[in-house]
């Protein structure tokens, strides 16, 4: 569905990262599932022209100043990287924007009560919060959160408040362990026991490393991809990635927007320029 959303809050949670809370129709909140995304029209003008895709950080219903009125909402967590996100950062309480969603295929939550392992790199953490909120209901959840530096590791206390066990690492060692999130993950898995599922979101090289680990260890793994998008609904074929069996003769392209953004790691070819 396409709806006009009103900004409730738009807060800089870490330098260059914002958490935006928008009003949403109840229908949206009911329909959304973790891992899905929205396409946001940042400007009513032609600059920027296209909508911008963002994962759903959270959805819910909040109290308002009127005791009987509940406001359904949608949260996104975004990083300012270019023109569109810079404009988004300028939105204030009461401003409006068009939102299309929930879009795409989210995470499969799998069998309950297994150990769930979340791996997030930088703003790739965004779709994992809503997922964690669902998963903690039935499973023990471990989060491996990585980033360049301390400012790039987001909302860890929020995850901990859900009861998630968190493992933080940064490239420069300014927060948690120094090193790659996948190194910490691998050590954990080497020690760990019991059936698990991995859920990962972050830069492509990180996802590729996670998929490699999953393949090697035989742990089921779902990854959430990013791609340049125009339509978000499977019409333009701009956002495709190569599926496992892709070749020129037997093309197997998947739309990140419609067949994903979440894929089983075995569905994809990991040899691609993204």
């Amino acid at each position: 569905m396409n709806f006009k959303a009103t900004v409730i809050t738009n807060v800089e949670v870490s330098p260059g990262y914002f958490r935006l809370r928008l009003t949403a129709p109840q229908f949206f909140v009911t329909a959304a599932s973790p891992g899905q995304f929205v396409m946001v029209r940042v400007s009513a003008s032609i600059d920027p022209l296209l909508r911008r895709p963002f994962g759903i950080f959270d959805v819910g219903v909040m109290a308002t100043e009127y005791p009987d009125v509940q406001q359904p909402f949608l949260d996104i967590l975004y990083k300012v990287v270019g023109k569109g996100t810079a404009m988004l950062a300028g939105f204030h309480h009461g401003d409006q924007m068009e939102v299309l969603g929930p879009l795409g295929k989210g995470f499969g939550t799998g069998e309950p009560s297994e150990g769930k392992v979340l791996v997030g790199g930088g703003v790739g953490l965004a779709p994992l919060y809503y997922l964690a909120r669902e998963l903690v209901k039935e499973s023990r959840v471990h989060l491996f959160a990585g980033g360049r530096g301390r400012d790039d590791v987001l909302c860890i206390t929020e995850f901990e408040r859900l009861g998630v066990e968190t493992y933080v690492s940064t490239d420069d060692g300014t927060l948690g362990e120094r090193g790659l999130v996948t190194e910490v993950l691998e050590r954990y898995l080497a020690n760990g026991t019991g059936a698990k599922t991995i859920y990962a979101c972050g830069p492509f090289p990180m996802l590729k490393a996670v998929a490699e680990i999953a393949g090697r260890t035989g742990i089921p793994c779902q990854v959430s991809l990013e791609a340049y998008m125009a339509c978000g609904v499977g019409a333009c074929l701009g956002c495709v990635v190569k599926g496992r069996d892709h070749s020129e003769a037997t093309p197997d392209y998947r739309c990140v927007c419609k067949d994903g953004p979440v894929f089983d790691h075995t569905e994809l070819s990991w040899e691609q320029r993204l």
Binding site: L50, R51, G232, H246, P251
Partner: protein
């Protein structure tokens, strides 16, 4: 006052209103079914179809540019067998006419496509893409050489009794000559414009943004060029014309009609707003009602100078 009459006819295809969706921007129709009422628009043009499935180009395939976007999808499509098996059943469920955009690597492929689609009752007509700039082999030559265009259109014309619409490339010195060739070869209507060939560069990476290096420019940026070409062709050629290029609003659509278009197509706007085509059709009706214009056909080519 009475509701204005928005119906038009293109090459024998009756449209409830002049708003079509442009090939490659609306999938096979089904993708938009949950966002808008497919029965609210004049016609749907499906994604460019070839004989065999086509992989399309490597990614990145799209990039935003000032007031527009470049795409180099490379005509990824399911091929005619899967089209007939998987897409046509859905198209059967809607009453809006469906026009199939076709693309061949060779003359014979154009003929074969036209021949096979001729037998599918759900197909209201063909739009012949001689202008896709992204596929090295063939496409661009048919679209920029009047004699080659004549051959393609003749081939399609002879292979089907369905209406044949030819889609013209803007990447030519003289679009009117191209239009004449297509008319001479038996086209029933012309649609224009396809995308302008363009390029984007990533300064930091020192690389073209698109894997294909060049791509097709669409969106509001190209509207002035499209409007000019529609106007030029409408004055020179007797065939009905479908105007395409940067149409974002009913105002844009009606400007194309004044320039001589009988119908219009909405492309990139579908990405900005999945309800765009429906909204444009509704706003056209409102405009006519407000202005007391009984019939949208009064506006076709009604530009004063």
């Amino acid at each position: 006052m009475n509701t204005p009459d928005l119906s038009v006819e293109i090459a024998g295809i009756k449209l409830r209103n002049p708003v079509m969706t442009a090939s490659g921007t609306f999938g096979y129709g089904a993708e938009f079914a949950r966002y808008m009422d497919l029965e609210s628009i004049g016609a749907i043009i499906t994604k460019g179809l070839s004989i065999r499935p086509k992989a399309g180009n490597a990614t990145p395939r799209i990039v935003e540019t000032p007031g527009g976007m470049l795409n180099a999808i490379g005509l990824q499509n399911v091929g005619i067998d899967a089209f007939i098996a998987d897409k046509v059943p859905f198209l059967r469920t809607i009453s809006t006419p469906v026009i199939v955009n076709v693309y061949g690597n060779t003359l014979d492929e154009y003929g074969e496509l036209a021949g096979r689609l001729d037998r599918i009752p759900e197909v209201a007509g063909l739009e012949v893409n001689i202008s896709c700039p992204n596929v090295k082999q063939g496409g661009i030559v048919f679209g920029t050489d009047p004699a080659a265009a004549y051959e393609v259109v003749k081939m399609v014309r002879d292979a089907t009794i369905k209406p044949v619409i030819v889609k013209l490339s803007p990447n030519v010195t003289d679009v009117v000559t191209m239009a004449h060739s297509c008319a001479d070869a038996g086209a029933d209507a012309l649609s224009l414009i396809n995308t302008l060939t363009g390029m984007a560069i990533d300064l930091a990476k020192r690389k073209p943004v698109l894997a294909n290096i060049t791509g097709g420019l669409s969106g509001p940026a190209i509207k002035p060029v499209a409007l000019r070409m529609v106007w030029q062709v409408a004055r020179a050629v007797k065939l009905p014309i479908i105007g395409i290029g940067g149409i974002m609003s009913a105002t844009d659509a009606l400007e194309f009609m004044l320039a001589g278009a009988t119908a219009i197509q909405v492309g990139t706007a579908n990405f900005l707003d999945p309800t765009a085509a429906q909204t444009i059709a509704r706003d056209m009706e409102r405009y006519l009602a407000e202005q007391g214009i009984a019939d949208v056909k009064e506006l076709i080519g009604a530009l004063r100078s």
